[in-house]
Symmetry: C2
């Protein structure tokens, strides 16, 4: 007998109650795939409902795929699993190191979950119905305005609402920009050498030829940039990735001059510009040349990369082509956009960044202390900014691969720089992040790193 | 005198309290841009805190851009507004009609806000910290599995978790697919004629040549498709957009046969396949040919286009190239993905679709009744599915432009078909949506539409 554990309501809603009970039984496995269910007539009698109610419920569940009906035979519970091979593991990333000193993500556990939820709740309670339809592919006005205010205030960005485009992370924005430049006839784009390989790939995928330009202690070499035949460049002025160099004031003036002389475009990737520890804020490059610089930013370092929220601040001449590019695949949730606008307006992002700045400042200090003690054969770069530091090997006895293998054996995550270099014959070295471990685990992770390095 | 309305806590936290009070004063405008603030010494005396506390607070607010400090002069409140021109209106869409019968969006006010919020809350409470880092660009495992189950059950899709890719709306997915096909050497792709112009634009932007193929009452003409020299086609089998034709079973077999003969790819855009009103569910085309069909779907019609959540179910041979394309700009929030997984697992989407199906079924009936009465000069297509119907002009006295102008004058939104046709010399007509008006407004909107049509 079929035990449906069915509460048939006294009044209306019998069909729905029956459907719900059947669905629950099938989902839970109490009704097994392939099992015949009672005829409509007998179930109607059992339950004391009309036969048409049972027919309607069965029809509905057939339509939803819970039941299958073949003409002339009993209605059965459908096989929900398709006969394809079972799911294999197709993990792209491999295991995460237990002690993770790779750059790139905020501290595990630091995302302000309840405060973010408060913003989402506010949006879902208050947003007008019209905001839940198709939206402006450049972003929702509230967020564009809130970002313009925020970036003016915290990053000296010259921005109006119209200049701000919301994107699904800076990486998506860089792809859109590359296509935009390609449409405008740009063929060659300069990049810093070394540079994040994924972003090089993004530029090339859009059909641009990338021209690597070496760095010196002041940032990208603008003399070499002038000599290269390029119409655009991508730079990370606040905290070069991966070398951690901050572009000097003089170099900033020079590169803006280059762009103005050549009518060239500068893409400024300000991926971790919020984080400086020496109380000497370095403004954006865009603030010096809003006519030639596209500014790009993200919440990936300040809040979480899982939100996939970023922005571009775009000079007027590029906006039309950029809109044509993003229009066909705009893709940032309006709920998330409005939640971020609320989060900014209520000062939550400022508050969170300030608090994390304290955490990361201390970690930066502790990591430097540890490296000086455990690995005197590393030449640790200066730097009071960002979420990682640079350490070059100055020992002839050790190479990158040896250090990485030892770290890997101890489940210590480190990033070697060889894969980041394009043309420069630079020495071996590492970008050592200090942001990823959870706060309660950082000291232990640091100990483990120290053990690995001391043993080399 | 500076009135900071400051509660200096007895114990620690004085610096933070001072910063908060200053920030609040500046945001509220009580401290005007450019105003000098007291010296650190005098404020420290006023407040009874140490001077170093005030110095630290001022430094922090300088770093955040609230204050500006120039060597040798007083610290001032920063000008938050940049001197650019004020924001102009740059609305892309123009005003929304009061009575909106354009296709494409679910009913205003129908989004299940509190139930969606419940899923978001659950995610933010329960998701492991690791899910808040960078994620698999193909989507999060939980959602890919939940979608595979859901699509198998409700749309007869043959799907395993590995086949499912989460995308930021079907439009974004179509763009990725077009690039994927281009990488694999596809140069020409067939499209249904008529077809949504935006999607034609997406295909062309990826460098594909689009080849329009006419429809007959059974769907796309497969004889003409065979004659065209194409390696792929995009179709809307459940409910053709915009003609509302459902592809017949025989035509489905033919097109799968074509794809298998030619090793060609079929992209199935199942944009509103959840909505059938005749209790005779039409399965997906993909279920008949999972080896040659890429299935695409979305929550844009069932929940809200504002969420920007869609999916592709991809045959194994295409997955590698697709991953290379999406990898560089993956962009769907993990929180949203997990919320949708929860929403699916708890049966909320089924429940919501079932409820909206009742609403739309009645609207479809009411609209048909109204059109028969008010506009006998319209030839209304059959159809018990989707969120719009098709109505062709059979009067020689009226043309599309005349009807659209009259509707526009009454703030009634209608969509003419002329812009959707590529090659077919089809008659004038309209895609009339019945989903958009809020439920409480639908009867009034219908009345207004009736008045406009009757007067023609």
């Amino acid at each position: 007998m079929l035990d449906l554990q069915l509460d048939v309501p006294a009044g209306g809603g019998r069909r729905e109650a029956l459907e719900t009970a059947l669905r629950r039984s099938i989902r839970s496995g109490r009704l097994a795939p392939g099992a015949a269910i009672p005829s409509t007539r007998s179930l109607a009698t059992d339950l004391g409902v009309s036969r048409s109610t049972v027919v309607a419920a069965y029809d509905q569940l057939v339509a939803e795929g819970y039941l299958s009906a073949a003409r002339g035979s009993a209605t059965r519970v459908a096989s929900l699993r398709s006969p394809t091979t079972p799911d294999e593991d197709d993990d792209l990333f491999g295991p995460t190191p237990l002690h993770d000193f790779r750059p790139g993500e905020p501290a595990a556990g630091s995302f302000p979950r309840s405060r973010w939820l408060r913003s989402v709740r506010r949006v879902l309670n208050d947003a007008p119905d019209a905001t839940l339809g198709y939206a402006d592919p450049r972003g929702i006005d509230e967020l564009r305005s809130a970002l313009a205010d925020h970036l003016r205030r915290t990053r000296t960005v010259v921005a109006s609402r119209q200049a701000v485009h919301v994107v699904g992370g800076y990486g998506a924005g860089l792809g859109f920009l590359a296509e935009t430049l390609r449409r405008r006839g740009v063929r060659r784009i300069a990049i810093e050498d070394p540079m994040l390989p994924m972003h090089v790939h993004t530029l090339r995928s859009a059909g641009l030829e990338t021209v690597p330009i070496p760095l010196d202690a002041d940032g990208i070499d603008v003399d070499l940039l002038c000599a290269a035949d390029v119409a655009a460049v991508v730079v990370t002025p606040a905290h070069q990735y991966p070398t951690a160099i901050t572009m000097s004031p003089r170099r900033r003036t020079e590169i803006i001059g280059w762009a103005r002389d050549r009518d060239a475009w500068i893409i400024e990737d300000d991926y971790d510009g919020e984080f400086r520890y020496d109380r000497r804020p370095i403004g954006s490059l865009q603030g010096l040349g809003p006519d030639r610089v596209v500014y790009g930013g993200t919440v990936s370092k300040s809040l979480s990369p899982a939100l996939r929220l970023g922005w571009l601040v775009v000079p007027e001449p590029l906006r039309g082509d950029l809109l044509a590019v993003i229009n066909i695949r705009a893709g940032v949730s309006a709920v998330d956009q409005l939640a971020l606008a609320d989060f900014l307006q209520r000062g939550e992002l400022d508050r969170h960044v300030r608090s994390m700045r304290g955490v990361y400042r201390r970690r930066n200090d502790d990591l430097r202390t540890l490296l000086a003690r455990s690995a005197p054969w590393l030449d640790v770069g200066a730097g009071e900014a960002g979420l990682h530091l640079i350490a070059n090997l100055r020992s002839a006895q050790l190479d990158e691969a040896t250090v990485l293998a030892a770290a890997d054996a101890a489940s210590v995550g480190l990033l070697g720089l060889v894969t980041h270099h394009r043309s420069t014959a630079a020495g071996d070295g590492f970008a050592i992040g200090f942001s990823r471990p959870a706060e309660h685990h950082f000291a232990a992770a640091l100990d483990r790193l120290g053990e690995v390095l001391s043993a080399l």
